[in-house]
Amino acid sequence: AQTVTQSQPEMSVQEAETVTLSCTYDTSESDYYLFWYKQPPSRQMILVIRQEAYKQQNATENRFSVNFQKAAKSFSLKISDSQLGDAAMYFCAYRPGQGGSEKLVFGKGTKLTVNP
């Protein structure tokens, strides 16, 4: 079974600085997708960024980028120019590329605090 591990229960960053959240996963498949979701205090799950395993290029969405290391099964999220609104729980998630059900497997999350 696939597993997702987030080794940092909590992280903090100063406003305008850069922070990196770690995620590792375990799978025997070669085709899959990886996601970072943000969950603010409102509880709404918001997709931050997505990476297809077959793509070598790291995904980027404005201030958010990933470092995808397929051989190491690592998928870290970098937040640049951190803003107060970035404070939230961040969840890394894995989804198999084939199989039809598209089930997500989540890590336990990292709580990010942004200090003014």
Partner: protein, 111 residues
């Protein structure tokens, strides 16, 4: 376009009571999911559906039931509520090869 809607937002149940959590999506997605999120944890899959009339168990299905009679609706039934079912419940939907869209969640407390 409302996306994924869930009702109720909050509910308190007594041990042994039953209830149905409602979930509706208006994106014509085939795939729908129910997750639970316990304090300090990630989301765990309870049940999922790949289309109307088709459902299957996820990681933590015990104590729950689902049905999928239409593409839009995917209700989650709790029978004989127990304190261990105190959690936040999320419904999600997904089109083929797209990300999952989540509802706002239902906070359930069983006392």
């Amino acid at each position: 376009n409302a996306g994924v809607t869930q009702t109720p937002k909050f509910r308190i149940l007594k041990i042994g009571q039953s209830m149905t959590l409602q979930c509706t999506q208006d994106m014509n997605h085939n795939y729908m999911y129910w997750y639970r999120q316990d304090p300090g944890m990630g989301l765990k899959l309870i049940y999922y559906s790949v289309g109307a009339g088709i459902t299957d168990k996820g990681e933590v299905p015990n104590g729950y039931n689902v049905s999928r009679s239409t593409t839009e609706d995917f209700p989650l039934r709790l029978e004989l509520a127990a304190p261990s079912q105190t959690s936040v419940y999320f419904c999600a939907s997904s089109g083929s090869y797209n990300e999952q869209f989540f509802g706002p969640g239902t906070r359930l407390t069983v006392l």
